[in-house]
Amino acid sequence: MKNSKIIKCQNKAAKRLRVEQSLSLCCFMLIILAWCVLTFGGMVSEIFLPSPLQVIQRLIEMHLDGSLWLSCWESTKRVMVGWIWSVVIALPCGMLMASSRKFSAFVQPIIEFARYLPVVALVPLTLLYMGIDESQKYMIIFLGTFFQLVLMVCDTASGVDKNMINAAKTLGAGKFQIYKEVIFPASLPGLMDDFRMTIGWAWTYLVVAEMVAANNGLGYMILRSQRYLATDTIFAGLIMIGLIGLVTDWIFRSLSYLVAPWQERLKGK
């Protein structure tokens, strides 16, 4: 009796999930449909918008000569390395800012200042300081995400329930233990969201990172294609970036459920 009820509930949830998934799929289909109508219907010049077939053809070509996967790999590597550096530094920095007023007062101005600087404008400087090797590209990604991430981490960590910290104090937790055993685990779900957001931004800085002195990568591929009016390659590159983004996002979502299964969620997801 009770079991059948549970199964019914699960069925309901599964059904809702199926409906949601098919809606997401529908959206993609509609866009592709519109794309087909516009191009095969001859409504726009193929210099502006290549047909889906041309783009697929281009993707297959690049797959065959291996350049596609090399570009994807190189770009993913750049984004990941730059972003991981920014996480590694922003995490302790932001946590410290959240609980130490002095430290916060010390670093806040420079962070607030730096986060409004356009990363493109910093390219010449990074070239001057770091030369044209990979580290310059990591640096661009780092600069693009770090300052935002510090503030986000600080915000998330400051949001931890004060009562929980007080409880830990009266249970005998020391300063470091409070970080490790309370503030960090309590902010984990929020941090996962922050990470998910910033890795998205990291991808948006890819083209900037590969603007100068790169000879591979998706951003470079797109920039070079502009010169030859190879719109199909541009679209191929955009689609790949989008797909990688989609996968990354999905990974982070799953990860946040995995690392914090204790969360109470409003939606029955």
Partner: protein
């Protein structure tokens, strides 16, 4: 004497002027005593207990525990808050073990002890549940077990049962009375519920409205074993009436002030 509060005063400074939350509060708690503080809402009860717990700094005055002035929070004063403030990522067992883990008690011993206290509050079988799977009353039991398992010198409780429904509250009050009898832990308990104050307290401090001062101390004449039957004893009603009159007088004065 276990705890002595001497001339404790707290003034909050805010943009719209200074607020005196409590004003020269004096109180004493004996070893193994169950002391209640009852007062109208906003009279500074939380402020007072937070300062005793070391979570907030006094403007002037002293808090003396076992003859030594306190400095900051510590495991000698276990606190139970109105919100349960459990750690939602830890199971019931891990929550109860938390304090011992912080003090680096060996894993085996702390599990054994934690299980003892989980049993004491009647949560056997739930040790692996997460807080989100528990009801309000059960969460508060965990919070009490978590504090007790740390074996504090004394318990400080700030309206721990305020969020519970009337029935659950009585169950929890009886449980706490039982714990107090069995473990002989010194307890300082804050409430604005007169029934609760009379039912549980060996002695009851009545506070005035803000700025909070101690208005009177009442020694309970109830039998040692406190349970729901006490609610209809003549001594209970008599003490309750006395406190009600005092608090009523307070609200009258407050109305006149305006």
């Amino acid at each position: 004497m276990k705890l002595e509060v001497k001339d404790l005063t707290k003034i909050y400074h805010s943009q719209n002027g200074d607020v005196t939350a409590i004003d020269h509060v004096n109180l004493q708690v004996e070893e193994s005593e169950f002391v209640m503080i009852v007062g109208p809402s906003g009279c500074g009860k939380t402020t007072l207990i937070n300062m005793i717990g070391g979570l907030d700094e006094a403007t002037s005055g002293q808090v003396i525990l076992d003859g030594k002035e306190i400095e900051g929070p510590g495991p000698d004063r276990g606190m139970v808050f109105q919100g349960y403030s459990l750690f939602p990522w830890l199971t019931v067992l891990k929550n109860v073990e938390f304090g011992m883990k912080m003090r680096k008690v060996p894993a085996e011993e702390r599990t054994r002890k934690a299980m003892e206290y989980i049993k004491l509050v009647g949560l056997e079988g739930f040790e692996n549940a997460l807080p989100k799977q528990l009801s309000g009353g059960m969460k508060q039991r965990v919070a009490i077990a978590r504090t007790l398992a740390n074996e504090p010198e004394m318990l400080l409780m700030d309206e721990p049962f305020g969020a519970l429904d009337a029935q659950t509250r009585v169950v929890m009050q009886e449980l706490l009375a039982k714990i107090s009898r069995e473990t002989r832990t010194t307890i300082l308990f804050i409430t604005h519920d007169i029934d609760e104050a009379v039912l549980l307290g060996d002695r009851i401090y009545v506070m005035s409205r803000r700025p909070g001062t101690i208005r009177e101390v009442i020694t309970s004449s109830l039998p040692a074993e406190r349970n729901h039957n006490c609610f209809v004893l003549p001594q209970f009603l008599e003490t309750k009436k006395k406190i009600m009159d005092m608090l009523w007088q307070e609200s009258q004065d407050a109305a006149l002030d305006r």
